[in-house]
């Protein structure tokens, strides 16, 4: 089984059922599959070969969904890039995975043009909307109207299906390699515990460049459910009205979206009478939010989950356990294993804290062209032929084997459900003349989970203001990485070896905040 078979099978089983709703567009499975097939033959005719990469830089849209399935049908590998990514990082990704084709949308043409130029990109460029401004680019509408022969022999399930770029502690993104078999295994496991059915209508306001959003697309295609795709959660009331009108049965959230929903003043229980389940991942929901979500959506089961891009999803808490262990992220997803090991690699017992290890068919094939990072994350498993995923997260278990998140081993910040590498933000800060030293930490935030804070020491005579510094960051980093606050300090705490200590800076910052509160 390959990932594009999800869509092809569903189109065969119920061609006239609505597969995708996005903005004013409603596409049936037959229409979606047809568009993807035509784009696949166009890509094939324009040189996309087996294993070639297709980078898709776009908002949640019909075109992005069509492009990812088209890439697979043509035997290629897709990579979806967050639309708020800036030119430098996009150029890095293009340089890293060297795609043959690049798909974007009219609104993003200026950023795309800069990145393509910087990367010296010479492949095929497709644009949803007007391609003016990108030399040689073709309108995706034109390519979707292609009537050439369909590509044959796309490949087998062991082939690479996608690259998902994720923040690394070094500050440079790493491409997580997922084979078709990995994706099929993860999607099968998740739809098993969610008890997904073709009658489901899932509303996804998460960016599909984020694997949690992407899997909503893939799993809906797999079970033959309808996916309602929203471009943002900026207006939760508008999203809720859409959800009610579409009879939504599944609502994937991250804690920030839950917090935004719960800020609505007039939201009454029963607003979504068809809702069957709500899922949460990326970080734990506060117990008060769990209680309020359950009151608002009395028909829905609430799933607490935990995962990493490197294996898509690690654990799920069966909803029946939520009242008993609200802090637990549960057990390994079906068909996989999750266990805690000590420094020496031995499995630990209940109550002991160690690193979480994941074993199963969903574990990535490695990081794209990054042997060192791959070796650090994938270590020898119980059998000589297998490798298991060391998550870098510290966990403990209770007597019945339920898992609890303790802390991360590195300094990665989780904000709005996305991973932020402090190093990547610090690298951007150091590019600004006038900044002598910088450290980036996460501070607790009711809505964001953690908010990104920069603490900087300025060069003598520098007149930089916090707003200047945030402005600089916003020109160089994705939205979710831009510091929400900037503190100008006289000095930063150092370690014995003279390195800036992020941990000491965070402790100092907390002490300052407590001092103010007291």
């Amino acid at each position: 089984m390959r990932v594009e078979h999800f869509l092809e099978e569903s189109a065969r089983r119920h061609p006239d059922k609505v597969a995708l709703v996005a903005g004013p567009e409603r596409l049936t499975f037959a229409a979606l599959d047809g568009r993807a097939s035509r784009l696949a033959s166009w890509l094939h005719a324009h040189g996309l070969g087996r294993g070639d990469r297709v980078v898709v830089f776009a908002d949640n849209s019909v075109e992005a969904v069509v492009a990812l399935f088209a890439a697979l049908k043509a035997g290629g590998v897709f990579s979806l890039v967050n639309p708020s990514t800036k030119a430098d990082k996009l150029a890095f990704i293009l340089g890293n995975c060297r795609p043959s084709a690049f798909v974007t949308q009219e609104k993003l043409v200026p950023v795309a043009a800069e990145a393509l130029g910087q990367a010296g990109f010479a492949g095929t460029v497709l644009v949803a909307g007007d391609p003016a401004g990108l030399a040689g680019a073709v309108a995706i509408e034109e390519a979707q109207g292609w009537d050439g022969p369909a590509p044959t022999g796309a490949g087998i399930a062991l082939d690479l299906a996608m690259l998902v770029y994720t923040s690394g502690s070094t500050g440079f993104p790493k491409g997580v390699m997922m084979t078709h078999r990995n994706v099929v295994a993860a999607a099968t496991s998740i739809t098993t515990y969610l008890e997904s059915v073709p009658e489901d209508v899932v509303l996804c306001a998460l960016p599909i460049s984020f694997d949690y959003g992407l899997y909503q697309v893939l799993m809906a295609a797999k079970v033959g459910a309808t996916l309602v795709l929203e471009t943002s959660f900026a207006y939760p009331q508008a999203v809720l009205e859409r959800a009610a009108a579409e009879g939504v049965t599944g609502l994937p959230l991250v804690p920030t979206m839950a917090a935004l929903l719960l800020r609505l003043r007039d939201l009454a229980p029963g607003a979504l009478p068809s809702l069957r389940y709500v899922t949460n991942t990326a970080a734990a929901l506060p117990p008060a939010h769990i209680a309020r979500l359950q009151a608002l959506f009395p028909t829905a089961r609430l799933y607490s989950m935990y995962g990493l891009t490197e294996c898509k999803r690690c654990t799920w808490l069966p909803p029946a356990e939520l009242a008993r262990r609200p802090d637990s992220v549960g057990i390994a997803i079906p068909g996989t294993e999750a266990y805690v090991v000590g420094e020496d690699g031995r499995r630990l017992g209940p109550g002991e804290t160690g690193e979480l290890v994941i074993r199963g068919p969903h574990v990535m094939a490695g990081y794209w062209e990054n042997e060192a990072a791959t070796e650090a994350a994938l270590r020898p498993g119980p059998y000589p032929w297998e490798r298991v995923l060391h998550t870098g997260d510290l966990f403990t278990t209770d007597a019945e084997g339920f898992l609890y998140f303790v802390a991360r081993k590195d300094d990665i910040i989780k904000s709005r459900g996305e991973k932020v590498s402090p190093k990547e933000v610090e690298n951007a800060l150091y590019q600004l003349a006038g900044i002598r030293e910088a450290v980036v930490i996460g501070v607790p935030d009711e809505v964001l989970g953690q908010a990104v804070r920069a603490i900087v020491v300025l060069e003598p005579g520098s007149a930089l203001t916090p707003l200047d510094i945030r402005a600089h960051c916003s020109r160089n980093l994705e939205d979710f990485m831009v510091p929400r606050s900037v503190v100008v300090a006289d000095a930063l705490p150092k370690t014995d070896t003279g390195k800036i200590s992020r941990r000491a800076a965070a402790e100092l910052d907390l002490a300052r905040a407590n001092g103010r509160a007291a």
């Binding site: 609104k107 943002s232 900026a234 009331q237 935004l260 003043r265 939205d479």
Partner: protein, 88 residues
Amino acid sequence: MTHAIEAEIRAFIDENFLFRSDQDAIDAGASLLETGLIDSMSVLELVTFLEGRFGITVTDAEMMPENLDTIAALTAFVARKTSLATAA
């Protein structure tokens, strides 16, 4: 009246969000979200500002792009809300 409201809204957006884009002046009819001038988190900040500065209450039903997503819409929305408040 509406000129004063528009000026204040522009000043707030300039001060807090304009750095997100390289555009100098925002077209009064341009979508703030589509142009990337504000992100999903910023809508909350914008509403907090409107409520604090103009003494209005933005209900859930009013928290919609029709009222908040362009400078023209924001200005008209605030003018309508404040004149209602004065009338009452």
